[in-house]
C-alpha cells in the first residue's frame, strides 16, 4: 500500500533527497563488500602443492629400456644429473595423450627419450617430445631388468591421473578435478594410486588393470575418491606397479 511519508523513487527522475544517504551507503557497502569478498575468497584457496612441470631443468634426454605395463615406462640405463641410471620413469605424451603407439615397437629395446620432467616429491613423469625426437631406438646392449613380485596388497588411498598429480595441473587431484583426471585416463596417461600408507617405501604406485591391461573404465567411477582396493604389487626398479583387482574397489567414508 502506498505511503505518502515514504520517499518515492522513480528511475528516470532524480533520486529523492531523503533516499540519497541510504543509497550512498548501499553503494559504499556494495563496492567495499565485493572487494572484501574478493580478498576473503582469494586467500581461502588451498595450496596446490609442490608438483610442477620442471621447465627450469631444461629438456631432459636419457636412455633406457622401454617396458609396457601397458603404460610405457623407461628403465633408465644412461641418466643425467636429474634422472639417475636405475630410475624408472613413467612416460606420457603432450596434453592428455600417451606415447604407446611409439613405445610399443620399442618394447624391450634400448631407446632414447627426450622431454620435460614433471615432479612432485618422489613422483615424476616425463612428457615426451613429439615424433622421433621424443622417443627413438638407441644403440647398445640391452640389460635385463627384474620385475619383483611383492604379493597381493589391500590399500587405501586415491586413484589419480599421474600427470596432473605430478604437476601438470595445480591443483591436480581431488573431486573437483575428477572429470579432468578421467579425461587423462581415457587418453591413457599413466594413472597413479596415492596410498595413505607407504608400500615398500613408496606412497605412489602406477596402477593398471588386471592381466596387463589398462585401468578398466569401471574404475573411473572411483577416481578422486577415498577408496580401498586390492591387487598384486610388483617392483620395477624404484617404481611400484599395482595390478588392480576391480572387484575389490570400495569407497571409504
Amino acid at each position: 500500500m502506498s505511503d505518502k511519508d515514504r520517499p518515492f523513487f522513480v528511475g528516470y527522475l532524480p533520486a529523492p533527497k531523503a533516499l540519497r544517504g541510504l543509497l550512498l551507503a548501499v553503494c559504499v557497502l556494495f563496492i567495499s563488500g565485493l572487494a572484501g569478498f574478493g580478498l576473503a575468497l582469494g586467500i581461502a584457496q588451498d595450496d596446490p602443492g609442490e608438483g610442477a612441470f620442471r621447465f627450469d631443468y631444461g629438456r631432459q634426454t636419457v636412455t633406457g629400456v622401454v617396458e609396457l605395463t601397458p603404460y610405457p615406462l623407461l628403465r633408465v640405463t644412461e641418466g643425467n644429473e636429474r634422472i639417475p641410471a636405475g630410475h624408472t620413469l613413467m612416460l606420457a605424451g603432450g596434453g592428455k595423450t600417451n606415447v604407446e603407439s611409439r613405445a610399443i615397437p620399442l618394447e624391450g629395446q634400448l631407446a632414447q627419450v627426450s622431454g620435460v620432467l614433471l615432479e612432485r616429491g618422489s613422483l615424476d613423469m616425463m612428457q615426451v617430445r613429439g615424433g622421433r625426437n621424443g622417443l627413438q631406438a638407441a644403440e647398445g646392449e640391452v640389460p635385463v631388468f627384474e620385475t619383483i613380485p611383492l604379493g597381493r596388497w589391500k590399500l587405501a588411498g586415491e586413484i589419480c591421473d599421474g600427470k596432473c598429480l605430478a604437476g601438470a595441473m595445480r591443483p591436480g587431484r581431488g573431486l573437483a578435478h575428477k572429470a579432468c583426471a578421467n579425461l587423462c585416463l581415457l587418453g591413457k596417461v599413466p594413472p597413479v594410486f596415492v596410498s595413505t600408507q607407504p608400500v615398500d617405501g613408496s606412497e605412489f604406485l602406477l596402477i593398471t588393470g588386471p592381466d596387463g591391461g589398462h585401468l578398466p573404465e569401471s574404475a573411473y567411477h572411483y577416481v578422486a575418491q577415498f577408496v580401498s582396493l586390492e591387487g598384486e604389487v610388483e617392483r620395477r626398479g624404484d617404481l611400484l606397479v599395482l595390478r588392480l583387482d576391480p572387484d575389490t574397489l570400495e569407497v571409504l567414508e
Binding site: 500500500m1 502506498s2 505518502k4 515514504r6 520517499p7 518515492f8 523513487f9 522513480v10 528511475g11 528516470y12 533520486a15 533516499l19 541510504l22 543509497l23 548501499v26 553503494c27 556494495f30 563496492i31 565485493l34 572487494a35 569478498f37 574478493g38 580478498l39 576473503a40 575468497l41 582469494g42 586467500i43 581461502a44 584457496q45 588451498d46 595450496d47 596446490p48 602443492g49 609442490e50 603432450g94 596434453g95 592428455k96 595423450t97 604437476g167 595441473m169 595445480r170 591443483p171 581431488g174 573431486l175 573437483a176 575428477k178 572429470a179 579432468c180 578421467n182 579425461l183 587423462c184 581415457l186 587418453g187 573411473y220 567411477h221 572411483y222 577416481v223 578422486a224 575418491q225 569407497v251
Partner: protein, 350 residues
C-alpha cells in the same frame, strides 16, 4: 517506458547504477586475481587458468546472491526499490562473468585431449549414480544456459513479445538456476576445500538468499490475509477516511487478482494492481503529474482508464467503484484493459 525498442534507455540513475556495479565487480576480480596471490604462501602458484576460473566463478556466485537478495529486500523495505530499478543490467553482467568462468574451465580442464572439449565436458565424468564424484559440471551447464536465456530475453521487447505473464514465468527460472549453482559448488569445489572460509561465505550467501526470500514471502502472505476478500458482488475496500490524496489502497479479490483504488483530486478510481510492464505493484506507487506511477520502473497510467499517456500504448484493466456512506466498494469483475470509468466523488476524505 518506451514507444520503440532501443538497446538501453539510458538515464543518469542507470549510469550511476552500472558504474557502481562495474566498480564493485572490477574490484572483486582485481583483488582476487592480483592482490590475493601475494598473500597466499603457496610454494608454487595455482595455475593461472584455474585461478582465473575461480575468480570469475566466485564473482558470479556473489553477484547472483546479491541479485537474489535485492527482490526480497525491496519487498521488505521499499526504500531498497532503487536497487531493483536496473537489476537486469546486473543480471546481464553476471552472465558475462559466468561465461568467462566456464570458458576458463573448458579451455583448461577439458582441452588438451584428442576429443572435442565441449563433448569431453559431457562424457569425461559419467558417475551420475553417486554423490561423491557426481558430475557437478551438469549443474553449472544448466545454470549457465538458464542465465543466458534470461539475459537474452531480459529486454522489454521480449516481455511484450512473450506477454508479461509468460515472460515472468520464464524469469522465475532464476531460482532453479541459483539452486543449480549451489549444487554445482557443493558437489564441486566444496568437496576439496580444506580452508573453510570459502565454505562459510558460500553457506552464508546461500542462506541469506533463502532466509530473505522466506521472510519476504511470509510478510506478503500476512499482508494477503489482511487484504483478502469474500466472493461477493461488491467488495468492501476501506473507509473513505482512510484514503490519502495521490495514494492507493489495495484489495485482494477472491479470484486472486489485486485491485488498487486511488484517490486522485478528490475522486476515487480503481485499476489493476499489476503493471503491464513487469507486474509491478501499482498500488504501492503514487500519482505523479496526475498519473499512477509504478514503484518498480516508473511506468505510468491514467487512473481513470488504465492507459499509459500517449505516445505510450500500455493498458491495464480498470474496475467499477461505488461508495455506500463512507465505505468504498469495488466490483470484482474487471473491465477490459483501457476502459474508461467515471471517477467516484470521495466525499469526506482525510
Amino acid at each position: 517506458m518506451s514507444v520503440k525498442y532501443i538497446p538501453v534507455q539510458w538515464n543518469p540513475n542507470k549510469y550511476i547504477y552500472d558504474a557502481v556495479m562495474l566498480l564493485g565487480v572490477g574490484l572483486f576480480l582485481y583483488v582476487f586475481l592480483y592482490a590475493s596471490p601475494g598473500i597466499l604462501s603457496h610454494e608454487r602458484p595455482i595455475n593461472p587458468q584455474v585461478h582465473n576460473a575461480r575468480a570469475f566463478g566466485a564473482c558470479a556466485f556473489v553477484m547472483l546472491t546479491v541479485i537474489l537478495c535485492i527482490g526480497p529486500l525491496a519487498r521488505l523495505d521499499p526504500r531498497f526499490l532503487p536497487l531493483l530499478y536496473n537489476r537486469r543490467h546486473f543480471g546481464v553482467m553476471t552472465v558475462f562473468v559466468a561465461i568467462t568462468h566456464a570458458g576458463y574451465i573448458v579451455d583448461w580442464y577439458f582441452a588438451f585431449s584428442s576429443s572435442n572439449k565441449y563433448e569431453a565436458l559431457l562424457f569425461a565424468n559419467t558417475s551420475y549414480g553417486q554423490l561423491a564424484g557426481f558430475p557437478f559440471e551438469v549443474f553449472g551447464i544448466f545454470a549457465l544456459f538458464t542465465l543466458i536465456l534470461l539475459a537474452a530475453t531480459s529486454h522489454d521487447f521480449w516481455m511484450k513479445f512473450l506477454s508479461p505473464p509468460v515472460w515472468k514465468r520464464i524469469h522465475y527460472l532464476i531460482y532453479p538456476a541459483y539452486l543449480s549453482v549451489v549444487a554445482h559448488v557443493s558437489f564441486g569445489i566444496l568437496q576439496d576445500q580444506q580452508n573453510h572460509a570459502f565454505t562459510m561465505i558460500f553457506i552464508g550467501g546461500a542462506a541469506a538468499v533463502g532466509i530473505l526470500q522466506l521472510i519476504a514471502a511470509l510478510k506478503e502472505r500476512r499482508a494477503d490475509q489482511e487484504l483478502a476478500s469474500e466472493a461477493v458482488e461488491w467488495v468492501p475496500v476501506c473507509d473513505v477516511s482512510e484514503m490519502k490524496e495521490g495514494f492507493a489502497k489495495i484489495k485482494l479479490l477472491a479470484n486472486g487478482e489485486r485491485v488498487a483504488v486511488y484517490l486522485n483530486e478528490g475522486k476515487l478510481s480503481a485499476i489493476s494492481n499489476a503493471c503491464a510492464h513487469q507486474n509491478g505493484p501499482l498500488g504501492e506507487g503514487q500519482i505523479i503529474d496526475c498519473l499512477v506511477t509504478c514503484p518498480w520502473h516508473g511506468f505510468q497510467y491514467d487512473v481513470t482508464n488504465g492507459r499509459s499517456p500517449a505516445p505510450f500504448t500500455e493498458k491495464i484493466p480498470t474496475y467499477n467503484l461505488k461508495t455506500e456512506g463512507t465505505r468504498v466498494l469495488v466490483d470484482p469483475r474487471a473491465n477490459p484493459p483501457g476502459t474508461y470509468v467515471e471517477p467516484v466523488p470521495a466525499g469526506a476524505t482525510s
